[in-house]
């Protein structure tokens, strides 16, 4: 299930503007990789290129290579829709579909595969996914109610359940806790620890403690100034990045002496 991602010389452009320059990195399977860096350095942009979600934005394109277990996501004939079914994404703000019930939300991706599922299979998927997102106990008695009636933290876990219902290989999370209170944040962090048993997890965060708590590997991105592209400055085991980074800028950023 869990797959490794190799990125080679990746550049990301919004029209003429180069937002991310020349990133080369390896994202290990069964581990959590955290992206940190100042605002605007291209963390979200880069993350979205890992499941081709940047293509939703007009004029955005990439140069370079992204291999998932050796298969180029940008190879000719590769369907971005298929890529996204294997690489799930969780967004900064919880976004359950407001017109769907909790159960329908969990099944939203599955039903896209057009395969007819029996009620029993559906119920199993719903329970497994909600359990996987540590949400089952809280919602098992109100699966038919709208997903938007849950608290922010529950909604975010619902979105995670929706993503893992697809049984993806990789889960990308863009600041999944930034709209949540500390308790919900802890619940999600615990969940991330469990998810990495099964999936490759990539998380963007502005919270240094969070990166230190949940990740095995940390990648630091930076920009020279506004208008210049973001670059990968340093990447290594979280322990090393947070104690003895090789680059001065990384140390400055982590210790809060940034800018």
């Amino acid at each position: 299930m869990s797959k490794r991602i190799d990125v080679t010389n990746l550049n990301v452009y919004y029209g003429k503007f180069r937002a991310v320059e020349d990133v080369t990195m390896t994202i290990e399977p069964r581990a959590v990789t955290a992206f940190i860096g100042p605002s605007g350095c291209g963390k979200s942009t880069f993350l979205r290129t890992l499941n081709r979600m940047h293509e939703v934005i007009p004029n955005a394109y990439v140069e370079g290579e992204v291999l998932m277990d050796g298969e180029n996501l940008y190879g000719t004939g590769v369907d971005p829709v298929r890529v996204r079914r294997q690489i799930g994404m969780v967004f900064q703000r919880p976004n359950p579909f407001p017109t769907m019930s909790i159960k329908e939300n969990v099944l939203a991706g599955i039903t896209l595969n057009a395969r007819r599922l029996s009620t029993k299979e559906k119920d199993e998927i719903v329970e497994r996914s909600l359990r996987g997102a540590n949400l089952w106990e809280e919602v098992k008695n109100r699966l038919g109610l709208p997903g938007s009636g849950l608290s922010g933290g529950q909604q975010q876990r619902l979105c995670i359940a929706r993503a893992i219902a697809m049984q993806p290989d990789v889960i990308l999370m863009d600041e999944p806790c930034s709209a949540l209170d500390p308790i919900s944040t802890l619940a999600i962090e615990d969940l991330i620890q469990e998810l990495k048993q099964t999936y490759t997890v990539v998380i963007v965060t502005h919270n240094m403690q969070q990166a230190a708590r949940v990740s095995d590997t940390t990648a630091f991105f930076n920009i020279a100034g506004t208008g210049s592209p973001g670059k990968l400055i340093e990447m290594g085991s979280t322990e090393k990045i947070f104690s003895t980074p090789d680059v001065k800028a990384t140390e400055d950023y982590i210790s809060g002496r940034f800018g």
């Binding site: 939703v56 996204r84 994404m89 976004n95 407001p98 017109t99 938007s148």
Partner: protein
């Protein structure tokens, strides 16, 4: 202004510095808004009063007192029923054509077309709304009606066993189906414009949620855009329906009406509609209770329109807990 403020500051003790005076801008705005709200209610009340005072005598009239209108009917209800049926029937048919087409055009503009093409298309649709209804009437009765005659003949010959397409096919093409299609063209712009607006307002968040699950563009539209836009689509359709129900000139010019109640779409015996009937009869109705009868039919139309709007509101509110409001 400045000097009074300074004077006020100077004279007021610091203990009351948090107390504020109502600002004139706020007060004026509140008064204007309230006035506008009351004005609308007054207008509505005045129209209702007019319809009731002038219409009710017509509704109770003896056919002998209103020969031009009620001449061939037993009473007012006997007279108004085919008209009310025709009005609703033509309008519903028009919506059946217009709503799917409008949704399609609006989706094309909002989610498929390149931005420059989308704006040109939007502009053209808006232009359609600016064409006066007499022009549609002229076009419908002289050009369009003739053009559809062969199609009607074919439908009648091959699908005549379906009651809708049965009967003796019209040779002029000026049938209720033609009128409904002309109406559809007329209500298309307003429904399209509203659908386009609500489609564009779909939160990016939900569109991206669908796409990130591996939805194709059409699946994304079904999953995120259409459910979100559902109340807006219904409102748009109801606005279109309101216009179709009240449309006068185009129907009066296109439709060859005989005042029957039938669901056959292709024959030359068609129900008329209330507004078209008022326009056609008004000139010769200037004596007795004829005018009151016509106003009475107007009252019926008013009630029908009102009922349609209430129904639409009810549909929109029925699943409001699942609405886009998050």
């Amino acid at each position: 202004m400045t000097s009074t403020t300074q004077a006020a500051e100077a004279s007021s003790p610091p203990a009351t510095s948090l107390q504020g005076k109502p600002r004139p801008g706020d007060r004026n705005f509140a008064a204007t808004a309230l006035g506008a709200g009351i004005f609308i209610l007054v207008i509505l009340a005045a129209v209702t009063a007019f319809l009731l005072i002038q219409g009710v005598p017509g509704m109770l009239a003896d056919p002998a007192d209103a020969p031009t209108t009620l001449g061939q009917s037993a009473n007012f209800w006997d007279y108004v029923w085919p008209l009310a049926f025709g009005t609703i029937w033509a309008s519903i048919l028009a919506l059946l054509f217009a709503v799917p087409l409008s949704i399609g055009i609006a989706l094309f503009i909002s989610h498929y077309a390149h931005r420059s093409l989308a704006s040109v298309l939007g502009y053209i649709i808006d232009l359609l709304a600016a064409v006066p209804s007499v022009v549609y009437g002229l076009w419908g009765s002289t050009v369009f009606a003739k053009a559809v005659v062969p199609i009607y003949a074919w439908l009648n010959a091959n699908l005549g066993w379906i009651p809708l397409f049965g009967g003796q096919v019209s040779v002029t093409g000026r049938t209720i189906l033609t009128a409904a299609m002309v109406l559809a063209v007329m209500v298309l712009p307003i429904i399209t414009a509203i659908c386009r607006e609500v489609f564009l307002q779909t939160p990016k968040l939900h569109e991206e949620a669908a796409l990130a699950l591996g939805a194709t563009r059409w699946e994304m539209i079904r999953m995120a855009v259409l459910p979100f836009a559902r109340p807006g689509i219904i409102s748009g359709a109801m606005l279109g329906l309101g216009r179709a129900l009240g449309e006068t000139m185009a129907v009066a010019m296109v439709l060859s009406a005989t005042g029957v109640v039938t669901i056959q779409l292709l024959t030359s015996t068609n129900p008329s509609t209330i507004p078209a009937n008022i326009a056609l009869k008004f000139g010769e109705a200037g004596y007795g209770l004829n005018v009151n009868v016509l106003i009475g039919t107007g009252l019926v139309l008013f009630v029908v329109t009102f009922g349609v709007n209430a129904l639409a509101r009810w549909i929109v509110s029925r699943r409001s807990e699942f609405s886009g409001a998050n």
